[in-house]
Subunit: 243 residues, 2 copies
Amino acid sequence: MERTGAAAVIIGNEVLTAKVVDANGPHLIRRLRETGIPLRSVEIVTDDVDAIVDAVVRARSRAEYVFTSGGIGPTHDDVTVRAVALAMGREVVRLPEMVELIRNRYDSVTGEAMRLADAPEGTVLLHQEGSWFPVLTVDKVFLLPGVPQLFRLQLETVLKQLQGTPVFLRCLYLRLGESTIAAVLDRVALDMPHVAIGSYPVFDAELDYRVKVTIEAAELAQVEEALARIRVGLPADAVVRAE
Amino acid sequence: MERTGAAAVIIGNEVLTAKVVDANGPHLIRRLRETGIPLRSVEIVTDDVDAIVDAVVRARSRAEYVFTSGGIGPTHDDVTVRAVALAMGREVVRLPEMVELIRNRYDSVTGEAMRLADAPEGTVLLHQEGSWFPVLTVDKVFLLPGVPQLFRLQLETVLKQLQGTPVFLRCLYLRLGESTIAAVLDRVALDMPHVAIGSYPVFDAELDYRVKVTIEAAELAQVEEALARIRVGLPADAVVRAE
């Protein structure tokens, strides 16, 4: 598999036990799309070192950029730093720059607060506008906090540094069922491997279509060609509308 | 890792490209919680056979029950059946019982519609109330459709067959920060490994607390003991309220 695009690992017992609905995953998905960075996978795992190591290793094997959400903090359930270090074969070290920030931040510093200064060896800190806590980055792995406000703030700091490629998208809304259009879509998908064709049936009598077909590619001309080929292959009255 | 509980694999290019927000993952999380079946992980992957195989193999290695969402249908992007078969080392076969259902359903059956009859060898069909399309189950892997209405319908059919264990939960809302409470939580978490203790800071001046602590276990007495031990370890005025 190509190591391009991004992958996300959401560390969250609270999500998997339905205490909160994850907002960071959907937000990341939308912002990466807007930035033009393809997303390979999103995995939600428990606050368990082995599960996080496993997920981060896999994320790094399939994507260039890895975003983690959560498990950054001073309590016993904050194990992301340790897990990311293990996944990358690095030691956990205390960062002098972070020690300084923590000393400036707190009047009296507990030993537990100082845990915030620990990070995988080689971690680079990005200054975070509007917060004393910087973004922890290690070789294209971004360790973002789970608290949604902080996650969003830090994500923007990271995205400013990355370069995306816009994707062109057209949609066709059809009044035929999937079984009837499958052969046409098959043929075009097979002939044009750089175009991503999606087929999404709806089962809602209120809607004026039965299947939405999406056509995407990095080049507009390819999208238009695929769209034209699909239209030609369908019965004349099949298309409710194109967008 | 113990093979208990459940794991989910959401097959969804449309989710990862921000065309739709995944509703099936959050719904599954909530329903499993209500049923008392612990959820180990939720992974969202692309409509790619290798990625799905990889995710299903991992899900089966960590959980007893595996739920997949999406990629069930007659078009080129519906590859879940093939991927699940590969992940389980089984052949894809045409199920006579499904062929019959499809013939009854459609006046004229295209070759593509007949693809719906293909499933991993050993697939057992569960009758689905309110739908002609049954639930596909293979050795505790449940292949649910991605369309939310159908996903929910089929999920209930599956959950009726599974046995959960209720979990007891208490929450403490604290006016202290995480760094100050970390040592107490550490100690109780270490002493009581069967109790799951979560610590969730909030950064919102409108709220009357700074950290929410969750305490969970299969036995109420353990939850109460952990709660009491945490309270004893904290300063007297630390607790805003308990729930």
